[in-house]
Symmetry: C2
Subunit: 307 residues, 2 copies
């Protein structure tokens, strides 16, 4: 198997200046695997849901080539639920409800078919669960990437550091990078974080793009300036899934190829925000995606040698 | 004459987490002309100072090839003075003191030697003064660029709109673009602003780079991520001066060349913030500048056709 992802498959309810949803399908694992399915044909997901979760959604994942045998369905339990409200600027949000439900005692099981996978993506979850997955892989994957968030820095920093020490790539946003490192400059923050374990640090800046750091190399990918941002939920997971899916599909994590993977992730994320939840990603065609990749190429392109 | 700039030549006093200055030389006109002097050999400045302003500073401007006969020296009056304190993130600041002094009744005089100039840069000043300079040019320059700020939107919006209607390029920051247009999306904001007159809109996003809009074209230039930002004062003016100096020196305002001009301005601005006031720009060599331009080329460079 090329790529294994562990991450939540969940329900979200979203309020934004553009409208309000009922419970819709969300979760880091959902967005990550959906995004990576644009590139990688052979991938599996490890997750847990309650028996309230629609079987049709899991069937749809299968149809996208995602091996779902790592999804545990807990009889008599409820799926993880998150509800939030976005402010007018779409950059800040309030969490209205968090019901952990099945995630509270999530014991991730790695199916035999997933053993020997080349690439591992740890979606945002408790660092203990993320570490369990690493430990349960019989062969260490070539590249392990990890997403996390400020929540775990607040309540489980030591556990987070233990898991971070085991991974190759850390993907976090700018505020999280500052919190984790204790420094404001992102250049300095990346150095501090790289000393904690991950040799590759990707800092997501939302509408301001993303930065990639590896050794003395730095790459900046812009975000595509958009007329409307409809729902940012899942954009970070989509970015991570696009990145890791591209890396896994090309089986190349040279710095040059990581740049392309970041553009692939950024392009997917730019679609994700155009509609609520996973809707836009589900409709998206490879042709549309490639047209947007071209926009990214054009956006930052200039020819210059010296002044 | 190739380029004429109108803008303040002033005193600043700055407090930041890195230290505190006495009165040092600042002002939009100072930073703009200093930046553009890296490219354009024949330029003039229109400004006003009091007799408290050091003659040596004006001599230094002359030494940089800046024609200073447009600087009025008002006997018995004091130079414009601004004092501010930067917060820890260096992105927000409080104004501590603003003494308009000679700027209060500034009546800009265009010396005969400045008539016929090809390019005109209107540094941040009251829109009435900016418009007076346009009206006092006997021949309309090929390209007129204008910087402004939220202060004028708050107290002189109608005057600002009148001046904007006469210019080709508007250079403002993201918050100002949102205030002026009344919309949050910068893509939409640029459309609204272009309908007000300026066909070219440049939106500065500080540490997040800059956007250039012209017709259906959009270009994004990153800012160079820095280890330390020492003093952001004048960075926006330096950017504008670098942009306009590059355009004037190359005498080319095609979209492709405007991109290069933005990189030139961004590179100069990245030096400006390394020391207090104009200090770093005064020491800067062309060799250092070109090395930084190369860093900008590398920073956002990737090779990709499709996914």
């Amino acid at each position: 198997m090329r790529l294994v992802t562990v991450g939540s498959v969940a329900f979200d309810a979203i309020e934004s200046p553009f409208g309000k949803t009922d419970k819709i399908v969300g979760g880091a694992g959902t967005f990550i695997t959906l995004a990576s399915s644009f590139f990688v044909k052979e991938q599996g997901i490890i997750s847990v849901v309650g028996d309230d979760f629609p079987a049709s959604t899991i069937e749809n994942m299968k149809a996208k080539g995602i091996d779902i045998q790592g999804i545990q369905i807990k009889a008599g339990e409820k799926t993880f639920f998150w509800s939030g409200r976005y402010h007018n600027d779409m950059n800040s949000r309030d969490t209205l409800v968090t019901e952990l439900n099945v995630l509270e005692h999530f014991n991730p099981i790695v199916p035999q078919a997933f053993q020997g996978a080349d690439y591992l993506m740890l979606g945002n979850l408790s660092p203990q669960v993320q570490r369990m997955v690493i430990e349960r892989m019989e062969k260490r994957p070539k590249l392990i990437a990890m997403d996390t968030m400020n929540f775990w820095m607040d309540i489980a920093l030591e556990e987070l550091k233990k898991t971070m020490a085991l991974v190759d790539v850390l993907i976090i946003n700018d505020e999280e990078a500052r919190q984790l490192s204790g420094v404001y400059s992102l250049v300095k923050a990346a150095k501090v974080i790289r000393a904690m374990g991950p040799q590759i640090v990707i800092i997501k800046k939302g509408e301001h793009g993303a930065l990639l750091f590896h050794e003395e190399n730095m790459f900046f990918a812009p975000a595509l300036p958009l007329e409307d941002v409809f729902d940012p939920t899942g954009a970070g997971d989509t970015f991570a899934g696009g990145f890791m899916g591209y890396i896994a599909a090309t089986d190349d994590f040279s710095f040059e190829n990581m740049k392309r993977a970041i553009i692939a992730g950024s392009a997917l994320a730019s679609f994700c925000v155009e509609k609520f939840g996973t809707q836009r990603l589900l409709e998206l065609t490879k042709k549309e995606l490639n047209a947007r990749v071209k926009q990214f190429v054009t956006l930052g392109n200039f020819e210059m040698k010296e002044v």
